[in-house]
Amino acid sequence: MLKYLLEKEFKQFLRNRFLPKFAIVFPFAILSIFPLVTNTEIKNIRLCVVDNDKSGYAYRLTEKIKSSGYFILKAVTTNEKEAFELIESHKIDIILEIPSRFESDLIKENKASVLISANAVNGMKAGLSSAYLSRIIADFNQDIRIDLLQSTNQQLSPAFGITPLFRYNPLMKSLFNMIPAILVMLMSVVCGFLPALNIVAEKEKGTIEQMNVTPVSKFTLILAKLIPFWVVGFIALNICIFVAWLFYDFFPQGNLLTFYLFAAVFVLAMSGFGLVVSNYAKSIQQAVFIMFFFVLTFVFLSGLYTPAANMPDWAQLLSHISPLKYIILVVRLIYLKGSGFTDMLPQFFSLTFLALFFNTWAVLSYRKRKM
């Protein structure tokens, strides 16, 4: 029985003008574009220096910032007002103001201060760019200390520097952070939403009614709906792994089989969730909206953008029901750290629980003989 149903589903899938191409093109497209546009490293920050000092030190500081590669020096001016006008007209992002007597204060009084004003309309960008700028200035500070000490032949006073070592992602490439998340989202779309929409579409077209008067059991019917999307989902997943390796030389450090195992449990959970939605939705429109709502919620709760630990307690509690939370972590662990199965047992149990939870709900919410 299942065989005939599967045959039909695959026929319909392949006959669809859009879906088969989509399943192939989508992983390529999303992996070639997405990691680049979701880059959280900020570059090309447009800077304006208000140089009231015009001294050698001020010049050296400006040059140092320029050579860092993060900043583009858009203007150097002595007029504070002019700099603010530039910010307001959206021509620059950040202002570094060097006071007059900067150099002389530094030498005579051993201290001087500068002012950083960043445009915080985009808060994340402002935060990161002022942090970059502060570090460059701190670095510069260290440089001139050495300069001054050498010229006076004094002993180097004790000071310590901090050298962070980023384990598992030494270059802190946000790309490596994003690719696992993108893999996961692709899996949720192909294995969670598409089958749900497919079922709702049969409801909408009325074909499910014709199926319901046949001896085909509901379980077989739904299984026949899910299997093709599982197959397509795994093909898409492998394309993703391949593309990530090809384009970014990024390949799982850990065992690929462990990866597949987790992906399979995750897919079960998402399919279950999709079925729950398909049971409640009466039309494709409704299904799409419900999906959209929950996917956004799941993604935000997953810790993809902000760590779950930053969230208020209730949100942290809620984040436990997001299957994405566990799988994103797992994929990152496997990709970057090469974690083995036993290292990720808690995630495995959580995902298994969610898979059981959503599928039980799906079975309970499906009232067998009520449409």
């Binding site: 029985m1 005939y4 039909k8 077209k205 009325g206 074909t207 014709q210 001896p215 003989r369």
Partner: protein, 316 residues
């Protein structure tokens, strides 16, 4: 073959079916006839085990619709009013698919569908979605028949189908009856009633009358006239204002009227009406006595039932 006892179904506050009971004999064509919204589809969906009734029992071939739904689903065919085959599969694939899920093969019961399928054969590679309305219905019928069901339910099979195809379809149903299949057909076309062995006239969730089409017509007791003139809409208003008028409604290009019983002999009452209408300046007036049709019977039964329910509703 089918035994329905006191079936009732509510959708929210709307009573779709109110206490329906009837029986269908094996091998007959049973027509359920009523306007849109009468509850025909709901009744079909209960009998085909798609939904559960709130109250009452129904048995098909001795199988209970609640408990033995698996047996029922193996042994009935259902053709819903809305085309519900897979539009992205071809004619052949649809038929093959439905044969497979009933664990049979097209060849096994080919004799049942041979006549219609021959008409479909030139299009067998065409996707079902690209067929014309009549062809779609024929394909749906083929798919509903492929497992040789004991009972075939057809929900408005002729809605949206051209007159030639309608006739063909009914001829086919007659053949199926000869094969021993019990047929339950719903329709909102009263003129199709004559092709059924027995009919149930249905309105607002209950049956008005169940009988053979001939008996229903015979039970029509009033005298019926067809009236026409050159100004039909004014004529209808004037007729309604005629004191002895019992019922009056538009019927095709004439108005059908019946007069109250106390109106005296045929000639006098016709003449009285003629004089009344001529005084109202109707030209080309024609009044002739006619035989009642199923629709006239339905109108009369509907009017009577609304009187009984003390809900003075006009049914036109």
């Amino acid at each position: 073959m089918i035994k329905v006892e006191h079936i009732a179904k509510k959708y929210g506050k709307v009573e779709a079916l109110q206490d329906i009971s009837f029986e269908v004999e094996a091998g007959e064509i049973y027509g359920i006839i009523g306007p849109d919204g009468a509850g025909k589809t709901t009744l079909f969906r209960i009998l085909t085990t798609l939904i559960l009734a709130d109250k009452g029992n129904a048995c098909l071939n001795g199988w209970d619709v609640r408990k033995d739904y698996r047996l029922i689903r193996n042994n009935i065919g259902y053709m819903p009013g809305r085309f519900s085959l897979y539009q992205d599969l071809s004619v052949e694939e649809n038929l093959q698919f439905f044969a497979s899920i009933f664990k049979t093969r097209i060849e096994t019961n080919y004799h049942l569908i041979k006549d219609i399928y021959q008409q479909l054969a030139p299009f067998k590679k065409r996707r079902a979605g690209a067929l014309s309305g009549g062809m779609k219905q024929k394909l749906a019928l083929c798919c509903a028949l492929i497992h040789k069901p004991l009972i075939l339910f057809l929900d408005e099979p002729t809605t949206g189908v051209d007159p030639v195809s309608r006739k063909e379809l009914w001829d086919l149903l007659k053949q199926l009856k000869a094969e021993g299949i019990t047929l339950v057909v719903s329709t909102s076309y009263m003129d199709e009633a004559g092709r059924c062995d027995r009919i149930a006239l249905m309105l607002k969730g209950h049956f008005l009358s169940v009988d053979t089409p001939q008996n229903i017509v015979n039970h029509y007791t009033d005298d019926l006239w067809a009236v026409s003139s050159c100004n039909m809409s004014k004529l209808l208003t004037d007729l309604k204002n005629y004191p002895a008028m019992k019922s009056c409604y538009a019927f095709g290009d004439v108005h059908h009227i019946s007069l109250q019983q106390q109106a005296t002999a045929y000639t006098t009452s016709q003449q009285a009406l003629q004089t009344y209408l001529e005084n109202l300046h109707h030209n080309e007036l024609s009044i002739r006595k006619i035989e009642a049709s199923i629709e006239d019977c339905f109108m009369e039964l509907a009017a009577r039932s609304s009187l009984e329910n003390k809900k003075p509703k006009q049914y036109v």
